[in-house]
Symmetry: C3
Subunit: 312 residues, 3 copies
């Protein structure tokens, strides 16, 4: 198997097919060991992870911190990292990163500005993992999404996937699109209201890698033909009026009727949290994989932490 | 000894006399081991506790987290859990609980809405411990209160206890009342201003279990006759005017004169924090047990955590 | 070597020359062990540190928590300790300290009021470490500053040091001044705008210990003659107008020209965070020691934690 070559985890584009397979196999191993007979070894005993969250995201933070703990490591954590660069004190991200280099062995950083993780990585002597930087990337989310797809469709051949909802501002669907180019014969259907269409840069990237895509507005039409529906939340603030929003949102709800129309082998994904776009009554359907998907975040983050410290 | 039969710790009423004795004996053992020759075994090594506090309560959180650490376990923690269910994101408690099920081995939950812990327990695959849910219950506080009483009066026979202060809104006196019904010949005297009287539901519950109770307004009259005075804070916002409040509050201060009048064998309890209702000069009196009571919270929480993971 | 005699770490004046040498040698050992062949022993395995921060200071908190983790100990932490003594609940620092005594083995306290750490130490049965109390002291900062100086100038003989910037309100330069009196033939030059001059109490203290000092306003004049420049931030709010501030601040910037004029053997220190007073282009100069200085905070805090639990 190929070696893990990354010093930092900053964006989806860093992962080629070999790296993806290494991460996914390691995640498989983590999952097996976590619930298996043998006790998981404390691989990261004595290592310290700094959770540096410039904006709170309890869910993501807990997932990383749980991963670190499961591997025997310890954590120092803040949801107030913004204080580091407060107007009053005005410290640069670069200085903060240098300081943290002395206190921890790996930094998980959530920031409100796109590009922050990359800037920190430029000067950091310890690994930086990007846990979301504003409108930028959230690569571990993309990896857990892709891992969930690979788990359901090993090989990912001839996969037809619908991405639904707010595609224009949705970080997850953008990052996942990058990763899908690593697989063959993938077909993406972007399903959204006209105001939330996928941006041109992603479409150009897909074209470059010969990934076929098309755009639709009608979820009802698309549901029966795809192997995977990736739902996202439509955000109120994108619309000019409440009426416009409600009209749009109601069209992108995965109702029991729509689920009934889906292929039996298809899967339903959602980055969570959800609001109304997937009703609770769907949760029991074997195609609903969004909780499993969230859980996969733990294995993926365990795998990344393990690999960053075991690069032979 | 009876086995620990609970999957979750949600309310005082779950504990019958056998369970109480099991918890208290385990707490005794924890206390002994913690300060004994032998080093306390890391019973919960590798286990993760999630502190999910929808409202901050540093004291309670620290008590739980210290208990988990003492047993060798680790902790992921937030005082911003409300963010999970923020208006903007609108996630349900049920979804949050499911997600946390994947990241932790036990959840300690503090919530602002009564009934939240019970709702989380309904769908959780890992133990939920209620660390206070709004106007609802705070069962571990009730257990540590009862443990403090049992420690002073083994058998709890013929115990006469005065509950003093804000009985109407005080969660602790309500929960403790439930537990006192498990013992024989207990007599409760509710001492409060008229606007803060104990509610009817508790009185009915006591009647059902043949626990004798009466109401008084004069602490001076009651102090000499009881084995235990359980003081609570009277809250300003219950009164129509500042004058009314001050008049009431001044009557429910445990002055040195009142303490002098108490039985030598009696004990003084308070759930803390206190304001003026117990002056600092009382702290040195051997009857003052409120700091010991707070400390007992650690042993009780260690016992519960231990038992939840060791149900043979 | 002398034994560590302190029960608490509250102020710089507690440290005599022998204690300083013990702390610095222990810090040296920590540094060696941390990066050496041998794995650092888990000296504080099973011990719990409570980080009780009444005001947030992520940097200081992380430094202490990293130190505790490196020694194998665990941590319970809050940046909301003020809640303990909230107006609504009104608990005294004394009560909070007593409660924490039951939950932890050592308390690291950051408080907004001078004298708080000393008051907590009066009643605490476990060690208190002052992590800064308002306008009061921040002794571990002074120790790491002194350690950085001793590292560069073993023996600290004939040291000439310039303290630059806001000397009137700067806690670090005040605390460091106390420690410098423990060494011989030190000479201090206070370089500041007239409104930010060092206070009289420190000058009197230096006189008492026969430490020579003088005041200057011109950094350009002083830079070439000193062994150490200790820069601090000048704070806007000290000045009557923005113009006054800008005029003053621009005079206390350590420009490349000034650094070029410094002795080759001299060092540049700063407690960080910095704003403009040291431009980034200085960072690569071998005389720039401020990041190393911050890093030394880890070794000093590890040393103090170790010594507090190993007082033979």
């Amino acid at each position: 198997m190929s070696a893990f070559t990354l010093d930092h985890v900053i964006e989806s584009q860093q992962f080629d097919r070999d790296l993806l397979e290494l991460v996914f196999q390691t995640a498989d191993q983590m999952k097996t060991d976590l619930y298996g007979e043998r006790r998981l070894a404390k691989f990261l005993d004595g290592k310290i992870m700094a959770s540096l969250f410039y904006e709170p995201s309890t869910r993501t933070r807990f997932s990383f911190e749980s991963a670190m703990r499961r591997l025997g490591g310890s954590v120092i954590t803040t949801e107030n990292a913004r204080e580091f660069s407060s107007a009053a004190k005005g410290e640069s991200l670069s200085d903060s990163t240098r300081i943290m280099n002395g206190y921890a062995d790996v930094i998980v950083m959530r920031h409100n500005e796109a590009g922050s993780a990359a800037r920190a990585a430029e000067i950091s002597t310890i690994p930086i993992i990007n846990a979301g930087d504003g409108a930028g990337q959230h690569p571990t989310q993309a990896l857990l999404d892709m891992y969930t797809i690979v788990d359901a469709f090993p090989g990912v051949n001839d996969l037809k996937i619908a991405m639904v909802g707010d595609l224009r501002y949705g970080r997850t669907v953008r990052s996942l699109s990058y990763l899908l180019t690593k697989y063959e014969k993938v077909e993406i259907i972007f399903v959204s209201p006209p105001v939330c269409k996928m941006e041109g840069d992603i479409k150009a990237y897909l074209d470059k890698y010969s990934i076929s895509w098309r755009e639709e507005t009608d979820l009802e039409k698309v549901a029966p033909e795809v192997d995977c529906i990736y739902m996202t939340r439509i955000q109120k603030e994108r619309f000019h009026s409440v009426e416009d929003y409600q009209a749009a949102a109601s069209k992108y709800i995965l109702s029991p009727e729509l689920v009934f129309a889906m292929k039996p082998s298809a899967i339903i994904m959602h980055p969570l949290p959800r609001v109304d776009e997937i009703p609770g009554e769907i949760d029991g359907d074997p195609r609903a994989r969004y909780f499993e998907q969230a859980q996969n975040g733990l294995y993926i983050r365990m795998a990344l932490l393990y690999l960053l410290f075991n690069k032979e």
